[in-house]
């Protein structure tokens, strides 16, 4: 919880939901194909290093594996996040145990169902086995209505299929549509597509988000949170986000621009507010790629540059920020915020770890 104190002395409660967090398994012992696994982790580390403020830089070893304890202290205690959502990319061709996984986050969600929101993933190439696993995971973890309501869909996952390497799949394929249909039966109504660099066939643009458009149009009851605002196809994504009422923008990666490249961040927000509107944008830190503490504090204090504000005719007021920081995700995941707050007051993360509301003061110069 963040309490924003405005110069008139009032305090505004801001409920924070981080739609994009990880407890990943990047440790060396888990590298199945070391060059690929290392290539993956190193790339993540470059993201971390290039946009984090110096005081938030981790050493490489910590970055490889940090576990649930550290997650609790960083995300809930230090940053004041109320609820954190998992977005696992399994990468089973690279790692022994899934890199982003359902197990560790799932255990945490069972222990603290009002803090951790677990989701899983599927892969259309897994067929019947995949459907069984999905059903099993829903049974195990659906301990609250908001648990196991979403899946991360990483379309560039590599997989050994009958002895040959398949380097990705498409969301508009027949097999993927069968899974989407199955999701509806299981009550998994939020899909979080994430494009990666390889998708079959390789001559097509793997980052192209038009297959999301097809799926979103064909399944109007499902919601699609396109993560990383569709980067590197931001232009195509916002167009789709405007057309399809059930397509949302996930800000993970985009938010990290806020400290070192604020002008870029401002323009991202201006474009998204102009095309999609304030109800379809979700805050995410992508922890541990970036620590949510500095991002949240910067975001609350952030002002759209005046020229962008007038050029686009949008505003990023405190009310809009509250939607982006939590209200939109709470609505999407069906979170009963009052019930969650009451439960949080008595859980170990409050009592043992000492999580409490953070006060962020806005000065007279801030516009809110």
């Amino acid at each position: 919880m963040i309490l924003v104190e405005t110069p008139d002395g009032r305090r505004h409660e801001v409920f924070i939901v981080d739609y994009h967090t990880h407890i990943w398994r990047g440790d060396r012992g888990n590298w199945l194909r070391p060059s690929l696994a290392k290539g993956w982790v190193d790339c993540f580390y470059d993201y971390h290093k290039s946009l984090s403020p110096k005081e938030y830089l981790w050493d490489y070893e910590t970055f490889l594996y940090y576990g649930t304890e550290r997650f609790i202290r960083d995300v809930f205690v230090d940053a004041g996040v109320d609820m954190a959502i998992s977005q696992p990319a399994y990468l089973q061709y690279f790692f022994r145990e899934p890199f982003g996984n359902t197990e560790e986050f799932g255990k945490a969600a069972l222990a603290y169902p009002e803090r951790f929101i677990v989701g899983t993933r599927w892969d259309p190439r897994d067929g019947e086995d995949g459907r069984r696993q999905l059903e099993h995971d829903v049974k195990r973890f659906r301990v609250r209505p908001w648990q196991m309501r979403h899946v991360k869909l990483y379309t560039a996952e590599w997989k050994d299929v009958g002895g040959s390497l398949s380097r990705g799949w498409r969301l508009d394929s027949k097999e993927a549509f069968e899974f989407l249909e199955f999701n509806k039966q299981l009550g998994i109504d939020i899909q979080v597509p994430h494009k990666g660099p390889t998708v079959w066939p390789l001559d097509k643009d793997a980052f192209d988000v038009h297959d999301v458009d097809d799926a979103a149009t064909s399944f109007p009851d499902l919601r699609f949170v396109v993560t990383h605002i569709g980067l590197p196809r931001f232009d195509d994504f916002v167009w789709i986000g405007k057309q399809d009422k059930n397509v949302y923008a996930g800000l993970a990666v985009a938010t990290a621009f806020i400290r070192l490249r604020p002008r870029y961040f401002g323009q991202i927000m201006a474009e998204l507010l102009w095309w999609l509107g304030s109800d379809k944008i979700l805050f995410g830190s992508d922890y541990a790629l970036w620590h949510p503490k500095w991002i949240i504090e910067d975001f609350i204090k952030f002002e759209l540059p005046k020229d962008l504000e007038s050029e686009y005719g949008v505003d990023l007021s405190l009310e809009v920020k509250k939607k982006i920081l939590g209200e939109n995700a709470a609505r999407l995941w069906g979170i009963d915020v009052e019930a969650v707050r009451r439960a949080q007051e008595k859980d170990d993360i409050t009592l043992k770890y000492g999580a409490k509301p953070h006060v962020v003061k806005l000065s007279k110069e801030h516009v809110y």
Binding site: L36, S50, P201, L202, D203, A206, L231, Y264
Partner: protein, 256 residues
Amino acid sequence: MYMGYPDSPTFLKETVLKALANVLDPELDRPITELGFVRDIKVGDSIEVEIVTSTYWCSPNFIYMILEDARREVSKYVEVPLDRVRVYIRGHFDESRINECVNKGILFNECYREEAWEDLEDLKRIFADKSLRSRLYQLVNVLLRYGLNYEDIVSLRLADIVDEGHRMVVRGRDGIVEISSSTDIKIIRGYINTVKRLAGSTEYLAVWSVNGDRPSIPDIRDLVESRGRLLRFSFNLNSELCSLLLESRLSRGLDS
């Protein structure tokens, strides 16, 4: 044009670099030389160029386009046969396959026979259209500032723009407009060069796609009011992220 190969290696390397300045990263719409992708140039019996990009995971298809273009540009500009120009991607998950295929001059879909159906022409066209439109957006903004309207702009012919070096003269329907701002001249010149490169020779100034189609007035209006700005910004955002990642990557060495 460099004519006297072999000559001083320094001069030759500079010539190679000039050739590489014509190679654009399609996703970023910027020359690979500006992006810091050119890591090494060796000159001898053959010319060798090493390229590095922002991550280990760049899409093989885009890497392929960049390497093919680089090889072609160097061969053309330095006037050496294609088989004496070798280009290599370094620090990429599929580098051995890509480097072998590109330097043998084989097509992408032959190189990735099991994973690709077609060559990269369709994909190139999508990004060439984006590049063209993002520059058309800049051009139209310049011309609007000089008092031309959408109708004037779509009816201008390429021959109506006279480039005199330090100034440009635009022969519009309602008379002559002179442009002397060097920034504006650069934008117009950049646009015209892009059209020539991507769409070949065209009669009209405003070109909507690489096959030479002209934009309608609503197309132009839409471009100016929303889509062009978005397109331009999207390229810039990709470039910025790419530079940040490359800097971090190079600072820790290049093993992955």
